[in-house]
């Protein structure tokens, strides 16, 4: 059974049909990526999985358990967390407070301390800036904080929405190295990206989303070799 299974979800913003029946699955321990252009519905797909923009029809299953209609805070308790697009850290809270907010659903104080140590081990830069307000961090550090915050709840699956957005190439490399490291430690990741090259090179499998529909899927190499993908997303003629 797949860890996360999305079956034919339709999501609307008012009358706008944002997701037109997409299905995908993520196995335990995989990195699966969802690529697509602006407005393809990538973020909407993640937000639907999280319960922020619930699907009008279709279903989302976590280890076979129906979570489609659950409110977002219940879904976090089930083990899905997200580092949202644009990072959206709590800019007035300190780095540490941001991370503690990520562990809001965790009751066990020892476990929270453990997660905090883990996050600081992966992101030593955050440890250095522990007491600094989140808003004073650089873009790359904010991305680290957003990922760290999502890791604090010990998720069964981590959703990352465009972690490379607005970052200098060297920082993109750094963030991706961290994503691979998290994956190496056994974290299951669903990664949404516009930066198709980066995402496809580290993923186990990928899906291509176009105007609310999945038009292509396959392994990372297959998609990187695919002519349509090369033309549309990798800027080749």
């Amino acid at each position: 059974m797949a860890l996360l299974e999305v079956r034919d979800i339709h999501t609307y913003y008012g009358n706008i049909h944002a997701l037109n029946g997409i299905s995908l699955s993520v196995e335990k321990g995989e990195i699966v990526t969802l690529i697509g252009g602006n407005g393809a519905g990538k973020s909407t797909a993640l937000n639907t999985i999280c319960g922020i923009t619930p699907a009008r029809s279709g279903s989302v299953l976590l280890s076979g358990k129906e979570i489609t209609k659950m409110p977002p805070h219940k879904i976090v308790e089930q083990g899905i967390t997200q580092a949202p697009e644009g990072r959206r850290i709590f800019s007035r809270l300190t780095v540490r407070e941001n991370l503690e907010m990520g562990a809001y659903t965790q009751k066990d104080k020892d476990k929270i301390r453990q997660s905090l140590e883990q996050v600081f081990e992966i992101f030593p830069r955050l440890k250095e800036r522990e007491r600094q307000p989140g808003g004073t961090l650089s873009g790359g550090e904010q991305q680290m904080l957003a990922i760290g915050r999502a890791m604090m709840a010990n998720p069964r699956i981590l959703l990352l929405d465009e972690p490379s957005m607005g970052l200098a190439p060297i920082l993109v490399q750094e963030i991706y190295a961290i994503i691979e490291r998290l994956h190496g430690q056994g974290t299951t990741i669903l990664l949404v990206e516009q930066n198709a090259q980066m995402a496809l090179s580290i993923c186990s499998r990928g899906y291509v989303l176009q105007t609310g529909e999945i038009v292509l899927s396959g392994s990372g190499e297959e998609l990187l070799a695919n002519e349509m993908v090369r033309k549309a997303y990798l800027g080749e003629n």
Binding site: H73, V76, T81, P84, F90, S91, R92, E97, G135, R149
Partner: protein, 353 residues
């Protein structure tokens, strides 16, 4: 008050912290002793400070909703009115019930809290300006209802002959008793809300105010915490209402007009949204000062407007802004280094997409 004194509320300087504590302690002692030491116009001062204290309680209440929860509620008067009318109905000659003040005090507050939840449910999905408009309407509806529900509220004739509280055989027949009553309750709500802000609940409010969607993504049930903010704020507003009705002895629909909500909101803004010391300063500036300067009554609104304009220019976060806001102002105005501001701004830019 000089600026160093103002600033020290926000610093972590331990010496200044102690200076503030000692000054606050002296102020409390002076306030406690004031009604006992006879001097000219004492009754006036007892009334003015008591009234200011009442608005401090109201301000603390709205501060929970606006300052902690980040919910712009413009109909706070509703809770005040519910508290006041609960006591007036249950402890006056109008219906002939004469229930004890100490019984009705929690009852009126609970009813107001309940109203907070009830009015909160339909506005859960509205944010910012829309929430303000809807709650503004609630405040007006309250006033119109109490004007027209004559069988219950006696309409615009109001409810008169409201009982004075009795405490261990002592009837509260002078302003001094109310002065102390308000004093104790003001300290109580200040203590409770400052504890609340540091609790798990306070942290959830903090996150919700900063970014509602992300708060939901981190597992916070924002609907629950919004309703909780309305309930706690409503409860405190209700408390103030009960005390007000008992003190004034008679209440009329006009006591609960929109200016109550506006005044409470203004005193919070002037003091600094989210800051508890700010509420006190705001109440002094907005409630005590105009009362003391009654002989300049004609210029009150003029001075008031002027004060607001000067505030906006010089201290946009209020006289005693909360620490959180100071951190933010530190970034946007007198930030540590301009380089550090850049990433913060770019992230907010990113949020919009």
């Amino acid at each position: 008050m000089n600026t160093t004194l103002l600033k020290c509320f926000g610093t972590d300087n331990p010496i200044m912290k102690w200076v503030v504590r000692v000054l606050a302690g002296m102020l409390i002692v002076a306030l406690l002793a004031m009604p006992q030491i006879p001097f000219a116009q004492q009754a006036l001062w007892v009334r003015v400070i008591g009234y200011t204290g009442l608005y401090i309680i109201l301000g603390i209440g709205l501060n929970v909703i606006l300052g902690f929860g980040g919910l712009l509620h413009l109909g706070f008067v509703t809770f005040y009115a519910i508290g006041a009318y609960t006591y007036a109905i249950l402890a006056s000659d109008f219906f002939g019930y004469h229930l004890s003040f100490w019984l009705v005090l929690p009852l009126g507050a609970l009813l107001a809290a309940f109203a907070g939840v009830l009015l909160g449910v339909p506005v859960l999905r509205t944010r910012g300006d829309y929430l303000a408009i809807v709650t503004l309407a609630f405040g007006e509806i309250t006033r119109i209802l109490i004007t027209n529900l004559r069988s219950l509220t006696n309409g615009s004739q109001g409810l008169i002959g409201i009982d004075d509280p009795v405490f261990f055989g002592r009837t509260f027949d002078s302003g001094k008793y109310y002065y102390y009553l308000i004093f104790i309750f003001a300290l109580l709500v200040i203590f409770i809300t400052s504890r609340l802000r540091k609790s798990r609940i306070g942290r959830a409010w903090n996150a919700m105010r900063e970014d509602e969607d992300v708060a939901r993504m981190t597992g916070i049930n924002t609907s629950y915490y919004k309703l909780l903010a309305f309930a706690v704020g409503g409860f405190i507003g209700g408390l103030a209402g009960v005390i007000f009705a008992a003190w004034q002895g008679s209440i009329f629909p006009d006591n609960f007009n929109i200016f109550v909500s506006v005044n409470v909101l203004c005193l919070i803004i002037i003091g600094g949204v989210g800051s508890i010391p700010g509420v006190i300063v705001g109440a002094l500036a907005l409630i005590a000062l105009p009362d003391i300067l009654r002989q300049f009554a004609e210029y009150r609104l003029l001075l008031f407007g002027l004060l607001l304009v000067v505030m906006m220019i010089l201290r946009p976060a209020g006289f005693l802004p909360s620490k959180r806001l100071q951190i933010e102002l530190g970034q946007t105005r007198a930030g540590p280094t301009p380089e550090k501001i850049e990433p913060a701004n770019s992230s907010t830019g990113g949020n919009a997409s």
